[in-house]
């Protein structure tokens, strides 16, 4: 528990550092006694999970922080055994059904139903419902999401679901309509800076405001990453200097280099090189959506204003195809090839205009 991210994580709604209005609303929600299903969404590193845990603590008290890992095994109708790890306290159960891959529907059906069917023992002193926390709901298959629909209604008396995901676009509409959607936006740069400074003060360190700002910007306002970066800076060089270089994740560097390679030359050979780099990224468990997003961000910075709209449109098109298909590499490469074609044509046209 000694990483700063873990050590200084707020545990109650009152201690949250930003989005305090939302925290107040959540507290009211808990106190009014009619707690709905929640769908918490927002970008990574915004503090969704922290907020959910705070809500749970508000609901049940400190008992939710006594966590244990349980290894559950569910038998699919095809007699296939599915092993899944859950994190549970006495009051809630956290499942990441995405871990079960294609059989997540069975996990949803069996696991959640058994939890939801059992009543709390002493409902007089506690809440009469348990909470099931599903993470990464956007990774759930459609089947699993449909399986969730009925469960959500049927066991409303004994069980509340808290769904946590990055984007609601992959959650089917019936589920969205059954939940209270709570968006947790990223903290602003100032908020990140204040958090960083606060943590450093607690550690007894002095963080120059310039460095804090740099870290906040470089982390993309992702608070988890900002804290990790800050700590890494601390490890590299303690008396902080304002212009010290902040460690980056390797895949970002690699992605940037790939984008540069695309821009510098457009040919089938280069496309072949790009393909190996894309494969490399994919094998390092970088999700293809993130790759395509990173590429577009880098490429847009490199191309002319006329092209930007077209490139963005193309990226959206191929990203959609990517979601429909299963072999990410085809779609990524198709996007790259398309960009190369457009870019090359644009450059040649420009050259022609220049010459004549």
């Amino acid at each position: 528990m000694s990483l700063w991210v873990d050590k200084y994580r707020p545990t109650s709604l009152a201690k949250l550092d930003y989005h305090k209005d939302q925290a107040n609303q959540l507290r009211n929600l808990v106190q009014c006694g009619d707690f709905p299903h929640l769908l918490v969404y927002g970008p990574s590193g915004a503090g969704k999970k922290t907020r959910i845990m705070c809500v749970l603590r508000e609901l049940y008290g400190a008992g939710v922080e006594k966590l244990r890992i349980e290894h559950q095994s569910v038998t699919a109708p095809s007699k296939k055994k599915i092993e899944i790890n859950t994190i549970a306290s006495n009051y809630h159960l956290e499942v990441n059904p995405g871990d079960a891959g294609n059989s997540d529907r069975v996990v949803i059906q069996e696991l959640i139903k058994t939890v939801a069917q059992s009543q709390q023992i002493q409902s007089s002193t506690q809440r009469e419902f348990k909470v099931v926390l599903l993470t990464e709901v956007d990774r759930l298959t459609k089947d699993a999401q449909h399986a969730l629909r009925r469960t959500m209604e049927k066991y409303m008396a004994t069980c509340r679901l808290v769904l946590c995901c990055n984007s609601t676009s992959k959650v089917i509409a019936p589920i969205r309509s059954r939940c209270l959607a709570v968006r947790v936006p990223l903290p602003s740069v100032e908020e990140v800076c204040s958090v960083l400074t606060g943590v450093c003060r607690k550690e007894g360190l002095l963080l120059p405001p310039e460095l804090a700002k740099q870290i906040a910007e470089k982390s993309g306002r992702n608070l988890r990453r900002a804290l990790l970066m800050c700590e890494a800076c601390r490890v590299q060089q303690y008396p902080f200097s304002a212009d010290q270089d902040i460690p980056e994740t390797d895949w970002e560097v690699y992605l940037r280099e790939t984008a540069n390679a695309i821009v510098s030359q457009q040919s089938p050979q280069r496309l072949m090189e790009v393909r190996t780099r894309l494969y490399e990224l994919l094998t390092h468990c970088i999700p293809p959506e993130i790759i395509i997003k990173g590429l577009v961000t880098e490429l847009l910075g490199n191309c002319d204003g006329h092209l930007k709209a077209e490139v963005a449109q193309m990226a959206a098109y191929y990203e959609h195809r990517l979601q429909l298909g299963s072999k990410a590499i085809y779609h990524l490469e198709a996007f790259v090839a398309k960009f190369m074609a457009i870019y090359k044509k644009f450059m040649e046209d420009g050259l022609d205009n220049f010459m004549f």
Binding site: D6, S44, L67, T249, C285, K344, K345
Partner: protein, 915 residues
């Protein structure tokens, strides 16, 4: 039944009695015996008549029998069926029989009954000669009637009928006869009669003649069986005649050809329809082989090289025999070879030159390979037989596990010594070896390396056969079977079947079987059977896709159709169809597409705008989407669109040059790597404590946490002994170890292939976050890593211990409820060495008086004594000394029993005692 049986034997004077009946009977040898049924009993006996007529005429409708009972009309219908299908309904048959018998018993008049016969026999001596089919027991006695033959006949009428000769008093008017005189001087004349198969079932005539008055004399079932029998026999005869006729028609033509005698006989024996043309016209001799002469010669030569070892050793007395045959057979070839130094000649010389010390050829096994249907198996068999070997074949139809394989090989190679001297040596032909399990191949190799056996191994043969090689045969064959054809259509057929002679012949037979007498171009192109399932290899498929079809050289035949076809292959529609066909006949669609994806960028493209590449990739995206729909929604009708991708690639990327194609393994490699990465992450996640575990999932671990975490665990540490660290450094180390433990990381010593020792992270998440080609991150030195590894290990142990202690303590706390008393004792350090005096030990050994507890864990307060549980150390010491006694405690020598430890006796020795 017996009564009827007896009647058969009696043939004395009823010729005179029933002369007219006999006449009729003579007629009936040719036709069914219904005229015999005319009698006066008809009016009285409608039922038997109905039966009889139904049987004889085989026509139920013609029978009026209106007055007959229902059961009786039912009978005939059964009987009729019976006669058509003889084995059908036995029970109904019995019913009919019974009916018939009743009628007989009731109404038959004495003359026809057997008793009457018995009487008449006594007065008139008669002679019966009955010949049973196997041996002719001729009954010459007048008084005893031998009916054995007849009985047999009745019970099993299907047997070859017995010849029955009738004895006459006078010499017969027509035909030969034999005069027989018995012991009593009576002379009878036995008429000689041609007892043909057809005429065999005489008995029923006797019956009829006996029942001249109109009753049915022969049991109905006998009649029916006879009818059925006759029909059957006629059928068989007809078919035989037909077969003979056919064979006779074929034979001359076969004899014209080079087919050998035994082959001919075989063909004559079996029906035409039963054999495939492929088998019928398979070559029987070396000279009939169609395959490339060079290959044949090489193989034969190689096999001949063994002669010296095989036959030279075993058949010492006749060494020239095996030598003579090949020379005779190959005389022509030899001459040719001498005149022209051909390639085969050279090869033969090479083969001959390379003999090992036992005069065996250097190569112990021959491997024939090639596409199916070129005659590899035939070649191997014929050559082995030609060289005087006994062919032992193992093919895919046999089970080819390693043990069985071994057994077969051993049998083949060792049986020879057991067999007699005349036996041919074995030549092992292992057919279809490409399907054999690798273990079996291993066995074969092992056998080869230690055995001096002779084995011809055959798998498949590379036979570049020219198309005209087999035209003569193809031309000959249809003519033999009465088909008209021309060269052009045969060439087309060959082309269609991809020069596969087996498929050619099968197609021809098929066409012939369908009644096609004329084979021309149109038939060949329209029929789709000749087209075998062209399962081309992936590589050739990729090649076809990436290569434009080359203009074929003009054929010698110069037929119009071939030219048309060439032109057709050039135009787009034809190419599209071709590729579509190839792609859809290939089963491994996934791999096919993968190969296209991996190779298309390496093609020589004239594509400056990258438009083609974009289109190709769009096709790939589309096919991926379709595939996903198929797999996810089980919408298999979409699968028909998948083969269009290769066709599109063909039009986009095909070039004239020969493409260099590599096997697609990028996808598989990526898959394994991803799996490796995932495994590392999962292994790391498995042991992370739940509070942290709930905050990190795989995704953000890979994206954000891990990379920075690896930075975090590489602090700048001075490479000195940790004891020399400053407080701050110590704290840093402490934090580092804490982090490593909470994220389930440690360093593990590993040895590089160069023999150096390194410490690597365990689980190795470094692979997860590091990318090739980026500047390497700062690494800790070996010493620091070692230090960290040790400290981590220690800290882990400490934590485990602490956790255990905590648990124990909690248990005790719960049980006693006196935690404040216990805690200092737990923390008390073990006694120093100089405290090992008995006094102290005695002090320590004092049993602490635990407070008595009741069932619920509450302290029970003793009533008479004050509570002992407040006893301090001083009290304990006092009580201990009291209990043990002062003398013991003050003694110099003492011992303490320590179970399992041998140095139980201690003595304090002072320095001054040693001085």
């Amino acid at each position: 039944m017996d009564e009827y049986d007896e009647m058969y034997g009696i043939e004395d004077d009823f010729e005179q009695q029933f002369a007219d009946e006999l006449e009729v009977m003579a007629e009936m040898e040719l036709e069914p015996p219904h005229p015999a049924r005319v009698s006066g009993f008809r009016s009285k006996m409608p039922a038997p008549q109905t039966f009889e007529d139904a049987i004889t005429s085989g026509d139920l409708a013609s029978k009026t029998a209106g007055a007959a009972a229902l059961s009786k009309t039912l009978g005939p219908s059964c009987d009729e069926e019976e006669s058509l299908t003889p084995k059908a309904k036995k029970r109904k048959h019995d019913v009919a029989k019974k009916l018939h018998f009743d009628a007989l018993q009731d109404d038959i008049t004495p003359p026809s009954s057997p008793e009457v016969y018995g009487n008449s026999e006594g007065t008139r001596p008669g002679f019966t000669l009955s010949l049973s089919p196997d041996g002719p027991p001729v009954a010459m006695t007048a008084s005893v009637l031998d009916i054995s033959g007849l009985a047999t006949l009745q019970e099993s009428p299907k047997r070859v009928p017995t010849a029955v000769c009738r004895a006459r008093k006078r010499p017969p008017a027509t035909g030969d006869y034999i005069t027989v005189t018995d012991s009593m001087g009576n002379r009878v004349y036995l008429s000689k009669k041609e007892d043909d198969d057809n005429k065999a079932p005489d008995p029923r005539f006797f019956r009829n003649s006996q029942n001249a008055l109109g009753l049915l004399a022969v049991p109905i079932e006998v009649l029916k069986e006879q009818v059925a029998d006759r029909r059957h026999r006629q059928l068989v005869e007809d078919s035989q005649r037909l077969t003979e006729l056919l064979n006779r028609g074929v034979d001359p033509e076969l004899l014209l050809d080079e087919v050998t005698e035994e082959e001919d006989g075989e063909t004559a024996d079996e029906g035409v329809c039963s054999r495939l043309w492929v088998d019928r016209f398979a070559p029987q001799h070396y000279i009939e082989l169609l395959s490339d002469d060079f290959t044949n010669r090489c193989l034969l030569k190689w096999l001949k090289l063994w002669d010296m070892v095989v036959f030279g050793r075993e058949r010492k007395p006749r060494p020239p025999a095996p030598e003579a045959r090949p020379t005779a057979a190959n005389a022509q070839n030899q001459n040719q070879a001498q005149r022209f130094k051909t390639k085969s000649q050279i090869t033969e010389e090479i083969l001959e030159a390379e003999l090992d010390q036992y005069k065996r050829p250097k190569f112990k096994v021959a491997l024939l390979s090639g596409p199916p249907g070129l005659g590899k198996t035939t070649l191997a068999h014929i050559i082995a037989r030609h060289a005087g070997y006994n062919v032992v074949e193992i093919n895919a139809s046999d089970d080819r596990s390693a043990e069985l394989f071994q057994k077969r090989i051993d049998t083949a190679t060792q049986m020879q010594s057991v067999l007699g001297a005349n036996e041919k040596p074995n030549c092992l032909v292992i057919d279809e070896i490409d399907g054999a399990p690798s273990a079996a191949i291993g066995v074969l190799l092992a056998t080869l390396s230690r055995k001096d056996s002779r084995e011809g191994e055959e798998s498949a043969a590379l036979l570049p056969i020219c198309i005209f090689d087999r035209l003569p045969l193809l031309l000959v064959m249809p003519q033999r079977q009465g088909m008209k054809t021309d060269t052009g259509s045969l060439v087309a057929l060959c082309e269609k079947t991809d020069n596969d002679i087996r498929a050619c012949i099968n197609t021809l037979q098929f066409l012939h079987g369908r009644g096609q007498k004329q084979l021309d171009q149109r038939v060949v192109s329209s029929v789709c059977v000749g087209l075998k399932d062209q399962n081309k290899g992936l590589f050739s498929l990729w090649q076809e896709i990436f290569q434009l079809p080359r203009l074929k050289r003009k054929r010698i035949g110069g037929d119009v159709f071939g030219a048309l076809e060439e032109a057709g292959l050039k135009d787009g529609a034809q190419r599209l169809q071709h590729i579509l066909h190839l792609a859809s006949s290939n089963g491994e669609h996934e791999k096919l597409i993968q190969g296209l994806f991996d190779n298309f960028l390496a093609m020589k493209l004239k594509d400056p705008g990258l438009a083609g590449v974009c289109a190709g990739l769009d096709w790939l995206c589309f096919s991926d989407h379709v595939n996903e729909c198929v797999l996810h929604g089980q919408n298999y009708s979409l699968m028909r669109y998948l083969p269009f991708l290769p066709a599109a690639f063909h039009f986009l990327f095909a070039a004239n040059s020969v493409p260099r194609i590599s096997y697609p393994n990028s996808h598989y490699e990526a898959l394994t790597k991803t799996q490796h990465t995932k495994n590392a992450v999962v292994a790391m996640l498995a042991e992370i404590p739940p509070t942290i575990r709930s905050r990190v999932c795989q995704n953000n671990l890979c994206l954000e946490v891990l990379s920075l975490l690896l930075e975090l665990i590489c602090p700048k540490l001075r490479p000195v002994n940790p004891q020399l660290y400053s407080t701050r450094e110590k704290q840093q180390l402490c934090e580092l170890i804490d982090n490593m433990i909470s994220y389930n990381l440690t360093y593990r010593q590993d040895r590089t292939p160069e023999g150096q020792y390194t410490y690597v992270l365990e689980p190795n998440v470094e692979d997860v976050v590091r990318f090739p080609g980026l500047p390497p991150r700062r690494q800790l030195t070996y010493q620091v890593k070692q230090l960290i590894a040790r400290e981590t290990e220690l800290e882990r142990m400490r934590r485990v211990e602490r956790a255990q202690q905590n648990r124990n303590q909690r248990v005790e706390t719960h049980s006693t409820g006196h935690s404040e008393v216990k805690r200092p004792e737990v923390k008390k350090p073990p006694a120093r060495n100089h405290h090992h005096r008995l006094e102290n030990i005695v002090k320590q050994a004092v049993v602490e008086n635990k407070p008595e507890l009741d069932f619920f864990g509450r302290a029970v307060i003793p009533k008479e004594k004050p509570a002992v549980n407040s006893a301090t150390g001083e009290d304990a010491k006092l009580s201990g000394t009291l209990q043990i006694g002062k003398a013991v405690g003050k003694s110099d020598v003492w011992f303490r029993f320590n179970e399992g430890v041998s140095n139980a006796v201690r003595r304090s020795v002072y320095i001054r005692e040693l001085l």
